[in-house]
Symmetry: C2
Subunit: 318 residues, 2 copies
């Protein structure tokens, strides 16, 4: 297995991704090759100054960088020799099994969709967020990739999110809830009201009804479906609580569970490949955990599993 890592992405690059890669190398099976995508001189400087061994790493020199504030499409088009572009090309050509980046999420999404392509039947690719509970994790999907959603998109987030939670988190039949303002089926905005019966009728989705904002804490569902506007606000709101509480209760396991670095990152669901999106503020531990997340989805061949389910349940297309 070959896992690519974007050394040029994230607020704390190159140290954070490289330190995360060193930690993962010491844990992962030696048969797993970690491929570092970044400027050769930057990578050389890190290894020279730290004295770390290059064993277990391949290095691909990527002379260009997509600026964080660039328009995603323009940034990808203008920088063919960037880490994101070269790694995407390598995965398309079968030379890489997965790629990890904490760079521009928009650019990573554009490069992945254009370079790897969408799985047949996928309306929009999506990225979820993880919400911890006492005995595991739930997925909130979408958390920002798709801010205006039609009901059929929300239904597909339910399908893609269920497959991810089944394959990567070992939940045989993930429970899906629609994030809403009340329990009753008639509650909600127009999109939520139109989505409810579609989720209820979908043969693959184990729909348990509407969830309210307070239901995250009680593990009401394994997948919470919402548009990326709501999901993004919820995710960042939850992070701010963690930031406030971790200083007060640094050793409390209920608080520690909320540390996003424990998860690291989430895959782009719906593309023909395996791409893990990291948080911009990822530290070494987040990058290390993203390596494990990448290995997990390659091990279960997540993209193939999605393709199989979509082929069987022929979703709405647009």
């Amino acid at each position: 297995m070959r896992i690519g890592l974007d050394v040029m992405g994230g607020d704390f690059h190159p140290q954070a991704p490289l330190e995360g890669a060193l930690a993962a190398r010491n844990t992962l099976d030696p048969s797993i090759q970690i491929v570092l995508y970044g400027k050769q001189d930057v990578i050389d400087a890190f290894f020279d100054s730290t004295g770390a061994s290059r064993q277990g790493f391949d290095i691909v020199d990527t002379p260009q960088v997509i600026p964080m504030d660039a328009h995603p499409v323009k940034g990808v088009a203008a920088n063919p020799q960037s880490s994101i572009n070269l790694a995407t090309l390598a995965q398309r050509e079968g030379k890489l099994d997965a790629f990890i980046s904490a760079g521009s999420t928009g650019a990573l999404m554009v490069a992945s969709v254009m370079g790897l392509g969408l799985i047949d039947g996928v309306i929009r690719p999506t990225v979820g967020g993880i919400y911890p509970h006492a005995s595991g994790h739930a997925l909130i999907c979408d958390v920002g990739t798709n801010v205006d959603c039609k009901p059929e998109m929300l239904v597909q987030f339910a399908v893609l999110g269920s497959i991810y939670m089944r394959e990567a988190h070992g939940i045989a039949q993930p429970r899906v809830a629609l994030l809403n303002v009340g329990e009753e089926r008639t509650k909600g905005n127009q999109v939520a009201q139109a989505t409810y019966p579609l989720l209820e009728a979908h043969p693959f989705v184990h729909f348990v009804g509407n969830a309210e904002g307070r239901d995250f804490s009680r593990h009401y569902a394994d997948v919470y479906v919402c548009d990326g506007f709501v999901g993004n606000i919820i995710l960042k709101f939850g992070e701010s609580f963690y930031d406030m509480m971790v200083h007060k209760l640094p050793n409390d396991p209920d608080i520690q569970r909320f540390d996003f670095e424990n998860i690291g990152g989430l895959p782009i669901l719906g593309v023909k490949g395996h791409v893990i999106v990291g948080h911009g503020i990822s530290g070494p531990r987040a990058f290390e955990n993203m390596m494990y997340r990448a290995k997990e989805i390659v091990d279960v061949r997540l993209a193939d599993k999605i393709q199989a389910v979509l082929a069987e349940h022929s979703p709405a297309k647009n």
Copy 2:
């Protein structure tokens, strides 16, 4: 001043509203008359069993009750002798200055809009939620009354919320932020993108840009504008954090600030009158504080202030 209290509303009626009224009576100026709306026998039983004095209270017997699960319009229409209907009628006739209820929010909204009427220029009445920070409170508006919003509705929430925060919380020029997924003006769903320039151009609104989910904690704004779908989910999500944390840190002031009972309830903004909406799970302290909230908005004549601003800034109508 005469403040009406719905004795029949809330999960813990009649004890919670009546105990809250007793506490408020001991604090409020004796010139303030508290009018209890409820079934005479229920109220009599409370006073008889507790031995509390009836001094400072008027009692209005309301033989009907609007069931919590009734359709708001039908529930209001079918129960003219309910506490909500009789108190609304009294306020319209000038016999009551404000009314407080933790009963069905939908029924209270319907009765208030139909019975008191909308202030000229109001597109939709709205109810906000309070979010505490280290030195005071911010308002999230809307939190569930309006789940599908056009840009001009969000702009009006900014105006109404600003007036409320100025008049009731003493903030001379409340800062208004648009709740969104990123800082940049081009971010967001279609409604948010269309709302940004309207807020920016509005002469009454002190617009400070987009706020993200993490910004609540740092008091970025005094009024956060969003549709009631997002606002409701955020509000309940925040409550669930409080519920989780209050057991761990019962004496921490940062946690205690999140106790909604400190505020009690929020006014319906946009109707020709003063109506405070309480949480269904309100306890005595929440009802006591709602009495103070009602007094505050009557003191400043909030509805008149809203009318004056809307007359000057002639908002969009539909």
